[in-house]
Amino acid sequence: MGVSHSAAVHRMEIFGGLDSPMHRLDARTKALVTVAFIATVMSFPRYELSALTPFFLYPFALVALSGVPPGFILKKLLIAAPFALCIGLFNPLLDRQPVFLAGGFAVAGGWLSFGSILLRFALTVSAALTLLACTGMSRLCAGLERLGLPKVLAVQLLFLYRYIFVIADEALRMRRGLELRSSGGRSPSPRVYGSLVGHLLLRAMDRAQRIYSAMLARGFNGDMPTLQPARLHGPDIAFAGGWLAFFVLARCWNLADHLGRLLTGVRP
């Protein structure tokens, strides 16, 4: 498990280091716009479907302009999909109130809210993944820190990302050691697991201490320095302004509906 997960993180970091118009934007701009995006998507009423669809433009545009393979984001999205499915699963059963659609069709409200949950999930998670893939964890953390996230938290986040797999590997090795010495298949008692977890904690703390002395040895003084100085340029302002205007527009008017009417020639 450790290996496959660290491979995924590895790929994410490779994409984070690419060079594209999207990568050159300041992390703060992308983080702020993405938060605004998520907030807007979540603010729609629960039966909303069609008005959400124009919002796919944001993650699509980001992926297209950043050179991150869409398949990668899609795969990550599928891995997380069961969570959204579980959340929405019972809506069609619990909410049987009929809702009338255009054209005189009626469906149970639960189906609509279920669909809406899936759409929102796809939108928000793909936007967050794309943000990470076209920024990179270190720049993202530095950006969040400059946006006011406490420094301690930003450094914590960065280190969690770096060391979770090292600790997971350690846990895996301990488990293997345990399995080799436990006689055939009988699962070990909670007491044994407790001791295992305790040891893991102690090892993690020892490692933290060693990492900290290694950081001090190289002049760490509380700041995580970065090679790319963060600066807001014209493109940042254009990016933020453009997208925020689009979000407001798409929130206030159902763009999909308008486009449909325009194309089919039906006047509202």
Binding site: S6, V9, H10, E13, I14, G16, G17, G136, M137, S138, L158, F159, Y161, R162, Y163, F165, V166, R207, R210, I211, S213, A214, M215, L216, A217, R218, G219, F220, N221, D223, P225, T226, L227, Q228, P229
Partner: protein, 247 residues
């Protein structure tokens, strides 16, 4: 050049809990020397190394790097002079890419990003790892990690290199590269190791530690050839010294 001198006078250290890891260690290492610190597990080698850059502070006695005693106040300056390569490279490589990791030290010491990057690239070239600069450290092999860990220290242009078990976990090829690299440095080098063949190749001088004291010091060939001394302190006479083939 006096700042390349490493000197310990009557150095003692007691861990919280009462274990006395060092009791009265004294030595003097001069400019450009390569000195091996050998001895059994638990002899106090790593504890001694941690005193050389102020990671630990002595209970009694003192360490001097050049004219400067190592204290809490001088530690930040000392750490620029004394580059420490830790035993587990995973503890030392914590940034998302190799390049950022190597630039971490120079940036902390206030270099402009462009300058820090130049330094980092130069250090990576010195250890032959420049092609890996954009890789995340955890994807490297043990030998590559070790070389990059050395580069992180070189990038700070230290005068003294301190290494804890540099050849552990390396395959023979990685170890060979490391030995050639260590031989090519002109820094003052202090290397704690169990790899006595490495000592024969890299270090003309040896300090033998056991039980928190230095039990012998002198030319490597003399001490390593002393079978009695070696066995008494959990070591053994290196194979390469047993048979001298005249070529």
């Amino acid at each position: 050049m006096s700042h390349h001198i490493v000197e310990a006078r009557d150095l003692s250290f007691v861990y919280p809990g009462g274990h006395e890891a060092l009791s009265g260690v004294s030595f003097r290492i001069t400019h450009g020397e390569a000195v091996a610190l050998i001895g059994p597990n638990g002899a106090g080698k790593s504890t001694l190394l941690l005193h050389l850059n102020g990671s630990l502070l002595p209970a009694r006695g003192e360490v001097r790097i050049g004219d400067l005693p190592v204290t809490r106040q001088t530690a930040p300056r000392i750490r620029r002079t004394v580059g420490m390569v830790f035993q587990d490279p995973d503890d030392q490589l914590f940034m998302p890419t190799v390049l950022e990791d190597v630039a971490f030290g120079p940036l902390n010491y206030g270099l402009a990003p462009a300058e820090a990057e130049d330094r980092a690239v130069a250090a990576l070239e010195r250890v032959g790892m420049a092609r890996l600069r954009q890789q995340p450290p955890y994807t490297l092999s043990a030998g590559e990690k070790r070389a990059v860990a050395i580069a992180t220290v070189l990038a700070m242009s230290p005068d003294v290199l301190v290494m804890d078990e540099p050849s552990s976990n390396l395959d023979p090829r990685g170890r060979r590269r490391l030995i050639e690299l260590l031989k090519s440095f002109e820094h003052t080098r202090i290397i704690a190791t169990h790899d006595l063949e490495l000592v024969v190749e890299v270090c003309p001088r040896v300090l033998v530690m056991d039980g928190g004291v230095i039990v012998a010091q002198g030319p490597a060939h003399e001490l390593l050839n002393n079978e009695d001394l070696m066995l008494r302190h959990g070591l053994e006479r290196p194979h390469s010294l047993r048979h001298h083939h005249p070529h």
